[in-house]
C-alpha cells in the first residue's frame, strides 16, 4: 500500500511537470532572463508575455527600407505579423534579413503610443510599407504588440 502511494505521488508529480511545460521552455533552457516561446503561444495568450523578454522563431517578411528600424516576422500563419522595433542594440536591420528564418530575442510589449508605429517614411513611398502596416492594423491579434529587439540569429 505504501509503495502504491509513493508511486502514485511520483506519477502525479511527473504528470504535473509535463502539463506545465507546455510550449514554454524554462528560462534556464532558453537563456538567462528570457523565455523561449512559440508564435502560436503569443498569438493565443499575448498578455501572458507582456513585459517579458522572450525568444521566438519567425520568418522576416518585411524590413523598413528607409529607416531599417522596423521589421515584421510571421510564424506558421502568414496573416499574423509581429512588429519588431530596433532599439539601441542595433542601428538598423539589414535588408539581407528579408526572407530569413530567424530566432529573435526581445521584450514583448504593447505599442503604447502611435510613435512606434508612426510611418517614418510618410510621403516617401507608397506600396509595400503602407500595405504591411495596413495589414497589421487589420490583424485579429498582435496588431498592438511589438517586440523591442535585443538580438537575433539566422537559422
Amino acid at each position: 500500500m505504501k509503495k502504491i502511494f509513493v508511486f502514485t505521488v511520483i506519477a502525479a508529480l511527473f504528470a504535473a511537470c509535463g502539463n506545465t511545460a507546455g510550449e514554454k521552455n524554462t528560462a534556464a533552457e532558453a537563456g538567462e532572463g528570457n523565455e523561449q516561446v512559440t508564435f502560436a503561444s503569443i498569438i493565443e495568450n499575448p498578455d501572458q508575455y507582456l513585459g517579458e523578454e522572450i525568444t521566438l522563431e519567425g520568418k522576416v517578411v518585411h524590413v523598413c527600407m528607409h529607416s531599417g528600424k522596423k521589421m515584421y516576422i510571421v510564424g506558421e500563419d502568414p496573416d499574423i505579423r509581429l512588429f519588431i522595433s530596433a532599439g539601441e542594440e542595433v542601428p538598423k536591420f539589414p535588408m539581407e534579413l528579408l526572407g530569413s528564418e530567424i530566432t529573435v530575442t526581445g521584450v514583448f510589449q504593447k505599442i503604447e503610443t502611435g510613435a512606434e508605429m508612426e510611418k517614418e517614411h510618410v510621403g516617401a513611398e507608397e506600396g509595400e510599407e503602407c500595405e504591411t502596416e495596413a495589414a497589421i492594423a487589420a490583424q485579429p491579434v498582435l496588431a498592438d504588440m511589438m517586440l523591442n529587439y535585443k538580438n537575433h540569429t539566422v537559422k
Binding site: P78, E88, E89, P91, M95, L98, H121
Partner: protein, 182 residues
C-alpha cells in the same frame, strides 16, 4: 601658454581630429535630408515580368515557385516565399525579391544593392550602438569647441569684433527667422 595661442592650437588640433567625422556626418546629413527624393541607403533595380503560372494559396508550393524562378532565371537565388491572404505572392531572393500579383500574373523582380559610401556613412549617422552614441556626443562637443575657438582666431577688422560679429549674427538670425516663420 598664451590664451590666443591655446585657442589657435585647440582649434587646429581638434579640427584635424574631427575632419573625417564632419565630412561623414555632413554627407550623410545631405543624403538623409533628401530621403524623400531618393533611397540614400540602397540602389533599387526593378524589372517587370508577366507569368501564366496560376498561383493560389492552396496550390502554391515550392515546385511552382521554382517554375516561376526558372522563367526569371533566379533559381539559384531562392530563399523562401510568403503568401498571406490576398493576391500578392512574395518570393524572397538573395539580395532581392520577386513580387507577383497572382490575379493578373504581373510582377517585378526587385534587387537591392547597398549604395557605396552613402550606406556606410548613413550607418554611422544612425548611431550603431551605445558606444557610438557616446562617441558622437564627444564629436558634437568637439564641433562646438572648434566653432567657438574659430570665432577668436582672427584679430582686427576681420575678427569677431567687427566683420566677424556681423557674419556670426547673421548666422544666428537666419535660423531664428525660420523658427519665427514656421
Amino acid at each position: 601658454m598664451k590664451l590666443r595661442k591655446l585657442n589657435r592650437v585647440t582649434h587646429r588640433d581638434i579640427g584635424y581630429l574631427i575632419a573625417g567625422m564632419t565630412i561623414i556626418y555632413a554627407v550623410s546629413g545631405i543624403a538623409l535630408n533628401h530621403k524623400h527624393d531618393w533611397n540614400a541607403n540602397y540602389i533599387i533595380d526593378q524589372r517587370t515580368f508577366t507569368t501564366d503560372i496560376q498561383f493560389t494559396r492552396d496550390t502554391t508550393n515550392e515546385a511552382k515557385v521554382y517554375q516561376l524562378l526558372e522563367e526569371l532565371g533566379e533559381t539559384k537565388n531562392f530563399k523562401t516565399s510568403y503568401y498571406p491572404t490576398g493576391e500578392k505572392l512574395t518570393i524572397f531572393l538573395v539580395d532581392g525579391s520577386a513580387i507577383v500579383n497572382t490575379a493578373t500574373g504581373e510582377g517585378y523582380v526587385e534587387r537591392l544593392g547597398k549604395r557605396p559610401l552613402f550606406y556606410q556613412f548613413n550607418f554611422l549617422h544612425y548611431n550603431p550602438g551605445k558606444w557610438w552614441k557616446w562617441f558622437s556626443d564627444i564629436f558634437c562637443v568637439s564641433l562646438i569647441l572648434v566653432t567657438i575657438t574659430g570665432l577668436f582666431i582672427v584679430k582686427g577688422k576681420n575678427g569677431i569684433t567687427r566683420r566677424g560679429a556681423i557674419l556670426t549674427a547673421a548666422g544666428i538670425i537666419l535660423p531664428l527667422l525660420f523658427l519665427f516663420i514656421y
